[in-house]
């Protein structure tokens, strides 16, 4: 039986699973692009909405994963099963980095807005660093880092078993991302109800009280931060594979603002709202960017200011609550 709350989720995913029949590869690739950003947003929703930890630098993990993925796949382009190992290795590197940053943040006793500034500084410094790697001395194995222009020419993600080759492109990529989204959402909802999620929530409400109840809040926060880094890394890998390139500006100030905007505007407390809102907002950015990227960014900035001023709970979440209230009153009649 489907619970009332899940009607939206199930119908959305049914819709997403069916539409490839109606659309050609161009539109599918576009929708894949919109959806690949949902993971970095879901990761941010996990630590911000549930944990009250506002990280401004999720793009650091996005970029790190993208670059690691690119470097590994270029270096081992011809080896068997690189398609499986390069993303896993890249995610592993990202998780380690996330854990180290998380350790220094939470065990160092950094909270509130300082977490935002430190993480933002990390992503900006990474951007500056990668942007100056233009010279030939900046290469890891066969992979040139290429400075400001970024890396490209990595082989597409895929597996080849003898004769049979499967690449993550077109419809395959689309279904893969939808599947990942289903698994991620399921996982996050499970997490929310687990004792881990409850302690994280408690730490957001009152850190000191949660600690004095005997919970290891710092450890929980570090793990949550690492998880969110993993989600950001997943987006980074999918992005790098989708476009075949990764640039330092994906870690810059404007890129770093985007996940915050998507999550804040959608409703940081609800994962599904974040998922939907993120797709919708990336679509809007792309549609507006036809007249010039700067206009799209201005509109995103306006949305952020407007939402924090008037709808601190997020617009999509508000709509969802409104709709489910309507549904439940109808059932009662």
């Amino acid at each position: 039986m489907i619970k009332k709350d899940n009607i939206f989720i199930v119908s959305t995913f049914l819709f997403l699973l069916i539409i490839p029949i109606l659309l050609d590869d161009f539109y599918l690739n576009n929708i894949s692009y919109f959806m690949l950003w949902t993971f970095i947003s879901l990761g941010l929703a996990l630590i911000w909405g549930m944990g009250g930890i506002l990280s401004f630098g999720q793009t650091a993990f996005f970029g790190l994963a993208g670059y690691s993925f690119a470097i590994i796949s270029i270096n081992f382009a011809d080896t068997f099963a690189v398609g499986i190992w390069s993303p896993i290795l890249a995610l592993f590197i990202t998780a380690i980095f996330g854990m180290i940053v998380g350790y220094f943040l939470f065990y160092g006793g950094i909270y509130d807005v300082f977490i935002g500034i430190v993480t933002l500084s990390i992503t900006l410094v990474l951007e500056t660093f990668m942007a100056q790697t233009a010279g030939p001395e900046w290469a890891i194995g066969k992979a040139r880092l290429n400075g400001f222009n970024g890396m490209q020419g990595m082989p597409p993600l895929g597996i080849s078993l003898g004769e049979y080759k499967f690449y993550l492109q077109g419809m395959g990529q689309y279904y893969f991302i939808v599947l990942l989204a289903i698994v991620s959402l399921w996982l996050l909802y499970k997490l929310k109800k687990s004792s881990f999620g409850l302690i994280l929530l408690a730490s957001k409400e009152d850190r000191v009280r949660a600690e004095s109840l005997g919970h290891n809040v710092k450890k929980i926060q570090m793990i949550a931060f690492t998880l969110s880094a993993l989600f950001a890394g997943l987006s980074g890998i999918l992005y790098t594979n989708w476009g075949g390139y990764i640039t330092p500006s994906s870690m810059g100030l404007i890129a770093a603002a985007m996940p915050v905007i998507w999550v804040a505007a959608s409703g940081k407390r609800d994962f599904f709202s974040v998922f939907l809102g993120c797709i919708f907002l990336v679509y809007i950015s792309q549609a507006l960017a036809i007249d010039g990227a700067q206009y799209a960014i201005i509109v995103m900035g306006l949305i952020l200011v407007f939402v924090t001023r008037y709808f601190p709970d997020g617009i999509i979440l508000m709509l969802k609550r409104f709709l489910s209230n309507k549904l439940s009153t109808k059932n009662r009649l």
């Binding site: 506002l54 401004f56 940053v101 220094f104 943040l105 065990y107 160092g108 006793g109 950094i110 509130d112 807005v113 300082f114 935002g116 500034i117 430190v118 933002l120 500084s121 990390i122 900006l124 410094v125 500056t128 660093f129 100056q132 100030l253 404007i254 603002a257 915050v260 905007i261 804040a264 010039g292 700067q294 206009y295 960014i297 201005i298 995103m300 900035g301 306006l302 949305i303 952020l304 200011v305 924090t308 001023r309 601190p312």
Partner: protein, 288 residues
């Protein structure tokens, strides 16, 4: 002797850069616990205000700089009135809102002024000492940054406004019960922070390429300085900036400017691990 002067010059240059980059941010954060993420754009406004008044209105440089600062103050005032003021109870939200403002302003500059703008010449001349050449203007900047600090200390420690401001930091509710107009104090503080950011932009404008992202050159330095300064930046700012500029100049002179920035970040991450409340926390502890 020349070596000593050279070291002093490098160090002073880095120190004044960090101090001037951070000071506006530190004043607003110290008073209102809001990190103004649009700080970089305030600096941009100061710089563009100066360059536009100097180039188009043909004003002499000091007056153009004054104009740049005035425009930034006006912008800060309007912003505080229409947005920031409504978010006082929600510090994280107000930080997020300032980020939105930052995006709007930086991209609007790109739309209005295009990707680059004809810059100004660095005023004053260079002088030669041994094998090196030094800019007199940069020496002047070092003096200006020290002067600004002295003025701020007088303002916050000796003036009437300073007393009201410190009462508001200590406890806004009680201050307001005693008749301090807390809202007004916040507005004035936000304007002072804007003025300082605008001044930074104005006086660095002649030394930099004028692009819409000019303010972003300052923000990482500003952030790390305020973070290392700790919870009460008024106390921690000078030791934090001194320490960081020592780190940066020593690393930069041996390696590379980018490595210098990386070193800055690493020292910050280490500092917050072992001194969670920054230099101000350390100083308060030493006092006790």
């Amino acid at each position: 002797m020349i070596f000593l002067f050279n070291t002093f010059y490098q160090f002073g240059d880095a120190l004044s850069f960090l101090l001037l980059a951070a000071i506006g941010l530190a004043v607003i954060f110290g008073m209102m616990k809001i990190i103004n993420l649009a700080h970089g754009e305030f600096i941009t406004i100061g710089a563009y205000g100066t360059v536009v008044s100097a180039k188009i209105l043909k004003l002499p440089l000091p007056i153009a700089m004054f104009f740049g600062v005035l425009i930034t103050i006006a912008f800060g005032y309007v912003l505080e009135r229409i947005i920031i003021r409504h978010l006082y109870g929600r510090p994280l939200d107000s930080v997020v809102a300032t980020w939105g403002i930052s995006l709007i302003v930086s991209q609007s500059f790109l739309v209005i002024f295009g990707p680059s703008f004809e810059g100004l010449q660095t005023p004053l001349s260079n002088f030669q000492l041994g094998a090196y050449s030094y800019s007199q203007y940069r020496l002047l900047l070092i003096i200006i940054s020290i002067l600004i600090l002295i003025l701020l200390y007088i303002l916050f420690l000796k003036s009437n406004f300073g007393t009201l401001a410190r009462a508001t930091i200590e406890n806004p509710q009680i201050a307001s019960a005693l008749g301090v107009k807390v809202d007004k104090v916040y507005t004035i503080t936000f304007c002072i922070g804007s003025a300082l950011a605008g001044l930074t932009g104005a006086i660095y404008a002649p030394t930099m390429t004028i692009v819409p992202s000019i303010g972003q050159a300052f923000i990482v330095s500003a952030f790390v300085t305020v973070v290392t300064a700790g919870a009460s930046p008024f106390i921690g700012l000078i030791p934090a900036a001194t320490f960081l500029s020592l780190m940066q100049t020593s690393v930069t002179s041996y390696y590379h400017a980018t490595i210098g920035i990386l070193a800055l970040l690493f020292s910050v991450i280490l500092i917050i691990r072992f001194l969670p409340s920054g230099f101000s926390g350390l100083l308060t502890r030493l006092k006790k």
